[in-house]
Symmetry: C2
Subunit: 411 residues, 2 copies
Amino acid sequence: MARLVMKFGGTSVANIERIRNVAQHVKREVDAGHEVAVVVSAMSGKTNELVAWCADASKLYDKREYDAVVASGEQVTSGLLAIALQEIGIDARSWQGWQIPIRTSDAHGSARIESIGDERLGEGFARKEVAVIAGFQGIHEATGRLTTLGRGGSDTSAVAIAAAIKADRCDIYTDVDGVYTTDPRIVPKARRLDRVAFEEMLEMASLGAKVLQVRSVEVAMVHKVKTFVRSSFDDPADPRPGTLICDEEDIVEQQVVTGIAFSRDEAQLTLRRVSDKPGVAAAIFVPLAEANINVDMIIQVVSDDAKSTDITFTVPQADFERARAMLEGMHGDIGYTTLQGATDVVKISAIGIGMRSHAGVAARAFKALADKGINIRAITTSEIKFSVLIDAEYTELAVRTLHTLYGLDKA
Amino acid sequence: MARLVMKFGGTSVANIERIRNVAQHVKREVDAGHEVAVVVSAMSGKTNELVAWCADASKLYDKREYDAVVASGEQVTSGLLAIALQEIGIDARSWQGWQIPIRTSDAHGSARIESIGDERLGEGFARKEVAVIAGFQGIHEATGRLTTLGRGGSDTSAVAIAAAIKADRCDIYTDVDGVYTTDPRIVPKARRLDRVAFEEMLEMASLGAKVLQVRSVEVAMVHKVKTFVRSSFDDPADPRPGTLICDEEDIVEQQVVTGIAFSRDEAQLTLRRVSDKPGVAAAIFVPLAEANINVDMIIQVVSDDAKSTDITFTVPQADFERARAMLEGMHGDIGYTTLQGATDVVKISAIGIGMRSHAGVAARAFKALADKGINIRAITTSEIKFSVLIDAEYTELAVRTLHTLYGLDKA
């Protein structure tokens, strides 16, 4: 007997028919003698509808009320799945975040889980009862208010609950059958990975792969939660195992590059001929940070007049206009000649733990991209990944080029 | 300064535009210096959608899970109205039943309010904050589970909260502008009542008038909550007062009959030639009561053979088939000759506190109905009302006849 957490996303619980299918997946594990906690998202489309209502009621809506509104989506699914499980003879009950409780910070709209009560869930397991837990939501105990964890937060709920109840495994069921070397819609030769290291998955999620919320991978890594990504669309009687996210020691044949990720959510800003004096970078980036604008790639090069410097950096597309307006306001302080911006850019990243022990991995990419006539606007590297910023029109070509270059194509 | 509760039903909060309109009604009272608690229903149609999902997941769904699912509707509206109020500069926050808490019995699906915490709401009033309370829902504290109060339960939430916070007034906003002498869709000459006594309103609600949940009138009567029924579709800047539900002493000009109610939710069952021995009524009605079938009118008359008795009674239409099957099963014990049933029947009732001091009120109705050729299948009377069961096809004719007979027609 094992104890396990099964998480089902919005497309997996999109309607009653799909919820019945989820119940069959749960039944398989219960019949195998396991103790099961299920974490569910809202039915697909519901969260968007609720968010739209909040935005319609007020452009600057109170995030505490937003949380009360959107947390309702998971509440509905948890009750419906409990009913569907009972219908096929499985004892089950729903749990809202505040009932367990899942205690979070008060950062409404993107709260962090601080602790999870395991006592009531444990009593449920002792009664042989499946716990059906509303994902995405929690409670800030000091104020007694509902909180939510941000988009994709149910993944984090699942992994955090797995850690709290010391589950042997956390299965994240989604509409794909695992983690791929890259997006198969762009590269038909993309391969499903049997295993991927926590660190790699963290980079992939951060760099654009949408299969898991970044925070959920962090929690899985810290608490060593053996996490599978697998498909709820598989036959419940005979599903494929999916991709295991695990410690790198558990991966026998380590590739140099494991996957290629890309993010279209990038915008580039360039300040020309900034006076090259100490403190200028701080003058630019401290105000942006204080305005909660997340600056990613930064490049500083000497300007063509050899007396000043050009500074290029990227921000999320949603923050582009706000960042540009701030920079225009700082013109007097910073003293640049021109402010340039571009939103038709994309960030392509290659990720692999093997990079640690292999030199020149990124250099091969720069050459391969140049050979295809792709101009690189910016580069960032870290121990296990590198990213290049390029024109958006080259996205597919660049992803396919790197996917082939690092030997990731399916045989 | 007064303290007041304002309750808005499903059609009053059907979409964001309507919710903005509700915010204007609240603003009027806040601007007048009042402390305001608002109670909201789910957006119209939402509860039906949620109930249908539960029924789709399982015909015999767990009522505890049903409660978790359907309570979400009011949660959404409470958050959205809080946002809409903040948008027009009014400090407001949403409250779920479990946050206040509104403590109820564990009769899931039709729980009764047992007590309401007034402390947190009081703190909110001290902060000059409008409380936006999710109606219809509560918590059973021993199990920590969500409960709901049954259809129309938000009315009861509102009145019970008004009692708990010692409100000066409870305004029930709906899609009509008050309580009428009968349904204006059937009798265009129906008049809006300025005042109606608690006891009369209780009978009207019990006998088919849908303007208020029966339980809410009971609570208002017990706690002497001055309750108005009024329209949310009136101009928020200049609304009409609606109908006041109050003690009978506060009604100056008491009519003999105040209103005519009717209920189509009736079914008739007749057992012919039941052997006329002691205990036969108990043999029939005790099992029905144990099966939670609510028997209403009962008539027993000697059969045409003068040796046995005919028993006729009514049940809600939803219980008709179940009751008939039970009676068929009892055939051996009771020993009737024939079991007859009819669902095309309607119950017409006349209600008025004046009946207490006036004799012959019902007799006038029997004659008037007979004059129109309407056959009476059954009669029940009590101190302040009488009801007749007739063929459904005579509904409108009978209601109009009694409405005119008792002088209720508009001038």
